[in-house]
């Protein structure tokens, strides 16, 4: 405003804003309004402040707190080796597998609202999901493709971990947990395969069940097969068992092993370069117990 301007604009009085209007109110009302305003602001800050424990992080301390104080992020360390987040090292395969698992949980829960695990209704409800429910076809497709994707990504993740030597001490047990997770992923996909109750699922599962039924000796195989499908052929009992395994038992088991898997990554440190964690806890000595006992040099 210091500049002297001679344009017409300068002569037009400013349009009154909400604040000007409030200023023109009588004193008592004005005071009451400003109290309400202050109280609303405080409530707003209380609510947002109670959801996240810290404001938007702008400092190093704030960023540390943002990770440390969030239930979803706290599995991460506060700092990580720059090498650890290089894309061409991990290709994010483990993370992609986990994200697909989350997508599968979300779409799976939505599909469960409509699907009925009975041999009289399973195919019909699937058909309704595909043709009548709004976006039912979309949910079903996403569940199907994400399931295939998860199997592929978990397998590739195993290959990545092997070819980068990331199974080495102190991560041996986490590799074993990973193999268990691979098996659970196969089982989850396989149990889900039966649920549409179409010709593809019935016969694919029959082939698989017969394979399991060939466990030697023969009477054990028969027992295992009966235990798995609750009958001599794949029918209502098998559908119910596979459904229960697919929607609760196996996801629960997988989640538990996932928690161990992630926790061990954090505790054992990231494989590429030393992580902040491993700087503190010093995993420098990677000899096995036997080698240490024998006094073998590194």
């Amino acid at each position: 405003m210091a500049r002297a301007s001679r344009s017409l604009r300068d002569n037009i009085p400013p349009v009154p804003g909400p604040k000007d209007l409030v200023d023109r109110l009588p004193g008592g009302l004005r005071g009451r309004l400003s109290k309400i305003g202050a109280s609303a602001k405080r409530t707003r800050e209380d609510i947002s402040g109670s959801i996240v424990r810290n404001g938007w992080p702008t400092s190093v301390r704030g960023r540390s707190l943002a990770v440390m104080n969030s239930v979803f992020l706290h599995l991460h360390p506060i700092r990580t080796r720059q090498d650890a987040i290089k894309m061409t090292y991990t290709f994010g395969l483990g993370g992609i597998s986990f994200f697909l698992f989350l997508l599968l949980t979300l779409t799976g829960v939505l599909l469960m609202f409509y699907y009925i695990p009975s041999i009289d209704q399973a195919w019909q409800t699937m058909n309704i999901i595909k043709t009548e429910q709004p976006f039912g076809w979309f949910l079903r497709n996403m569940h199907r493709w994400a399931a295939h994707g998860m199997v592929i990504m978990v397998f590739f993740h195993m290959c990545r971990v092997f070819y980068t030597g990331s199974f080495r001490a102190p991560r041996q047990f986490n590799w074993v947990v990973g193999v268990i997770l691979l098996v659970l992923t196969f089982l989850l996909s396989y149990t889900g395969y039966l649920l549409p109750w179409d010709q593809l699922s019935l016969w694919a599962v029959t082939v698989g069940v017969n394979m399991v039924g060939s466990t030697p000796p023969p009477f054990v195989g028969d027992l295992v097969k009966f235990f798995l499908i609750g009958d001599f052929t794949v029918g209502q009992n098998a559908l119910l068992r596979f459904y229960t395994l697919h929607v609760i038992a196996l996801p629960l088991l997988l989640s538990i092993f996932l928690a161990v898997h992630f926790w061990r990554i954090r505790k054992d440190g990231f494989s590429r370069g030393l992580t902040f964690t491993s700087r503190i806890t010093d995993y420098g000595d990677t000899r096995s117990a036997g080698e240490k006992a024998a006094g073998k040099e590194k």
Binding site: Q82, N141, M158, S166, W197, Q199
Partner: protein
């Protein structure tokens, strides 16, 4: 460690002014503040969190596109009386179903996969030490070992499948053993001894039935168990011998890289053959001439 050290020194030459934005691609994953340059570490927020968010976004977009463009398969209502020809397991088990065509079901469906998983889980307890930790391919020889193994495994698996196609072991062995003279049953020889046993354990009222039982047992023992087990022992050993001959001074880790690559290759080859080359009655077809599935 050397690379990390180099990069940190290199980064230290860059003057970072106070208030410089940390998130400036492509240097996103590089340390920017003096503290980061000193340790070679970066703040997880935002450096890693941003990558995770973008990754989730890309996967979501891809899955939405895939689900919109392609419908998942959904056939007619399940009918236990109508067996499709061929009936196939889900694709990730078709490797086992392919094995099933060449050996005893107990071996193909249970023993081999269980052993494979146990052996994979045992890798860290066999290949110990910290050398190669966090380095792609362990050594410059690593990729060559893997490539050599991939070619070897593809060739061996292809040859064995072709052998069983053009010279079916089961029918050939049955034909050979069947030529034994039934009238000599009980007189001499291993087959006769088996025939006697078959009479006691496996039933069979007539000499012909006993003979057929004995032939069946013997063929299954040879073709269903003996030959496949021998293959599973001989071909990995041959691989190790070849690797040792091809790569002078190869160490244990590189041999294990070879064996693991052999497993991965076999998994892919058998899955491919099972998926794209097995038609009605599980006969072998070229992938481009695979007949459509016949409804039962």
């Amino acid at each position: 460690m050397a690379t990390t050290g180099d990069r940190v020194t290199q980064e230290a030459n860059v003057t970072v002014q106070k208030g410089t934005r940390v998130l400036t691609p492509p240097a996103r994953t590089r340390p920017t503040t003096p503290a980061e340059q000193e340790t070679g570490t970066v703040q997880v927020w935002p450096h890693l969190v941003v990558i995770e968010f973008l990754g989730a976004l890309i996967i979501t977009i891809n899955m939405v596109l895939l689900s919109t463009l392609f419908n998942g398969p959904f056939l007619g209502l399940a009918n236990p009386d109508k067996t499709p020809n061929p009936s196939k397991a889900p694709w990730y088990f078709l490797n086992l179903q392919e094995l099933l065509l060449h050996m005893n079901p107990a071996l193909a469906g249970v023993i081999v996969p269980t052993l494979a998983l146990v052996l994979i889980a045992a890798i860290p307890y066999v290949d110990r030490g910290s050398k190669g930790l966090g380095v792609w391919w362990y050594s410059p020889r690593g990729p060559k070992v893997a490539m050599f193994t991939a070619i070897y495994t593809t060739a061996v698996a292809g040859a064995l499948i072709a052998l069983d196609k053009f010279f079916p072991l089961k029918s050939n062995f049955t034909a050979w053993l069947d030529t034994a003279d039934v009238s000599r049953v009980g007189q001499a020889g291993f087959l006769s001894f088996l025939t006697e046993l078959a009479g006691d354990f496996l039933g069979g009222n007539s000499p012909e039935a006993r003979h057929a039982n004995a032939v069946g047992v013997l063929v299954e023992a040879i073709v269903g168990w003996g030959i496949p087990i021998l293959c599973f022992i001989i071909f990995p050993i041959l691989l190790v011998v070849l690797l040792k001959a091809a790569f002078k001074g190869i160490d244990k880790t590189e041999i294990i890289i070879g064996l693991f690559t052999g497993f991965v290759t076999l998994y892919f080859v058998l899955t491919f053959v099972g998926t794209a080359m097995r038609g009605p009655s599980m006969d072998l077809y070229p992938p481009w001439a695979l007949p459509p599935n016949q409804e039962g």
